[in-house]
Amino acid sequence: MSIRTVATRDLRNAGRSPALWGGAIGLGLLGVGLAFVNRGRSQSPTVAVESLFDVLTILLALLLPLAALVASYLAIAGERESGGIKFLLSVPNGRRDVFLGKLLSRLLIATVGVGFAYAPATSVSLSKYGAFPAAVVFGTLAVTLVYAAVFVVIGVSLSATVASRNSAIGRSLLAYFLLVLFYIFPVIQVSNVVRTVHTELLGMDANADLYNAVEFTSPYLAYQKTLNLVLPEGMENEFFSDSTEGGDTGDPGGSTVEGGGPGSGGESAGSTATSEPGEVATELPVYLTDEFALVILAFWLVVPLVLGYRSFAGADLE
């Protein structure tokens, strides 16, 4: 009841925000644009549409965290700065109601945002190719919604730890950098940083699985690994191909597949990977498998929430 009144008030206000609709339309245009640009090449219509969604998820992997953080970073900090929190807590709401109500509202907004990207992509593809690969569309949609939810959770939770707009912006940007960008640019890539610290500073032997495991803590990677569970063979995002370097099997079979880091996966994964998908999977330690990505996403859904709420629950709201 109280969660609902907090959420409906927030949605009502947000629904009148031109910026929010601008963002949603932007995501819609992204979906339309990709669908139009998408070429079938020599593939079958179904594969063409499937690869469209593969490309869409690669873009969303980068853009969605930003969109979700922007949509949620002010959820609570904004109310604290403006004084709206005083009204929210002057009626029969507890802090938990405010926190969960805001979270619910921002999750719905993010869901609608993803819908804005998916609906046009699906309908344009359908009219262009007449194909609707339901498993891939709904599979990637479900994983993408979870990914969006992770960043809404992170955004709302960060928002709950600060009292001002500026701090909220700062922390959200930091989160985007630490959880997404840090895993993309090769020079500062987290696995390289960890490798340097581990081998140069600590003087240890290189351990690829350790670096991979550290890298895997990012929801950005977890998202792409989870997508492998729903993407058709040949479109999987390959990571951790160097796992055997410091691992136990020493079998080079799977490790020759791709040298590429995150983001370079996708359609080009090619024949070698698909010819022995099972073998690659069995070589990886459990904590580096695609399935384990679900655990990582679950971690990011729960832990920030608990920390964010605890901080908010104990804060002095002046």
């Binding site: 009841m1 109280s2 009144t5 008030r9 009502r12 206000n13 009148r16 925000s17 109310e79 403006s82 004084g83 709206g84 005083k86 009204f87 807590l89 002057s90 009626v91 029969p92 709401n93 507890g94 109601d97 104990g314 002095d316 709201l317 002046e318």
Partner: protein, 312 residues
């Protein structure tokens, strides 16, 4: 029955003691006012009662419930006009009232509330675009939703014009007559004087006096003050020799004389009139303002500057 009870309530922000060991009881149906200069700890005390901030030590109960453990249950029975509130950017005045009605789970008519606080005709405008006085009325209206047992009003007359103040006071009195307890804070003396049954004077986090206005006035020694506006600047030296005069100060052409005995005011006027032409006479008995100054040691004026007010 007790509406509000605090027990050695203390709140520190770092080294600053914002609320210092306050023990207070407010009975049901009372209109109780916290009076004090800015920064005296009035809002902090109310914010602790509302569970916006947490006490460093001590405890408080509102309507018999613990402020921290049972804040939601308390909020079901109170109406709040908080300090430092802000409206949603894109919701109208009426929508804010509707939201308060829905949140409290009552079936009040939003239009009746809007009528009560005099916002008829403006209810479909965005609340964030209201003037300060209109925002204050709207916030007051939201506090009235659900006919609460206790109204907590933090500086309620801020930004209101005289009409608005008058109308708010009469609403507060009406509610109090129907058994509502009212707890509010103010640095505006006439307001406190006009509506309070009892006041608590706060200064630098401490509750320095709690009593009815009559008793406080008596305690202050029954001083009387007389202001004489003269044609030319008067000399206070002569009048100070009059029996019963405690003090005399000059500000421009105005001579302010404080008498320990109200009956010597006539002697004061005679004495001054012999010296200069008296243009106007303003006489008042011991005012809360003086009490305020006595208890707060001059305190801070409304703008928050420190040091004693020189005109006094």
């Amino acid at each position: 029955m007790v509406s509000v009870q605090t027990d050695s309530l203390t709140k520190r922000f770092g080294d600053v003691v914002a609320v210092d060991d306050i023990s207070l009881t407010v009975e049901r149906g009372e209109i109780f006012g916290f009076l004090g200069p800015n920064g005296a700890g009035k809002s902090t005390t109310l914010n602790i009662l509302l569970d916006f901030i947490r006490p460093t030590s001590g405890a408080a109960e509102v309507l018999g419930r613990d402020t921290q453990a049972e804040s939601t249950a308390i909020r079901e029975r109170i109406g709040v006009l908080p300090e430092g509130y802000g409206f949603e950017d894109r919701l109208t005045g009426r929508e804010h009232v509707e939201w308060a009605v829905a949140s409290k789970g009552v079936d009040d008519d939003p239009d009746a509330i809007i009528e009560t606080v005099g916002l008829r005709g403006d209810e479909h405008r965005l609340a964030a675009g209201y003037s300060k006085g209109m925002q204050q009325r709207l916030a007051f209206g939201m506090a009235l939703v659900g006919d609460p047992e206790l109204l907590v009003l933090d500086e309620p007359s801020t930004g209101l014009d005289p009409n608005g103040m008058q109308s708010m006071r009469s609403t507060i009195r009406d509610r109090a007559e129907n058994g509502t307890t009212v707890l509010f804070s103010s640095h505006i003396l006439p307001e406190v004087e006009a509506i309070c049954d009892r006041i608590g004077v706060m200064n630098e986090g401490e509750l320095v006096a709690v009593d009815t206005i009559e008793n406080l006035r008596e305690e202050a020694g029954g001083h009387a003050t007389i202001d004489l506006v003269c044609a030319t600047p008067p000399d206070p030296a002569d009048v100070k020799t009059v029996d019963g005069v405690a003090d005399a100060t000059v500000d421009g052409t105005t001579l302010t004389v404080r008498c320990t005995d109200p009956t010597v005011k006539v002697d004061v006027v005679r004495s001054v009139d012999r010296q200069v032409d008296v243009v106007d006479i303003l006489s008042q008995n011991a005012s809360l303002e003086e009490l305020f100054n006595i208890y707060t040691g001059g305190g801070r004026d409304e703008a928050g500057t420190t040091g004693p007010a020189e005109e006094q």
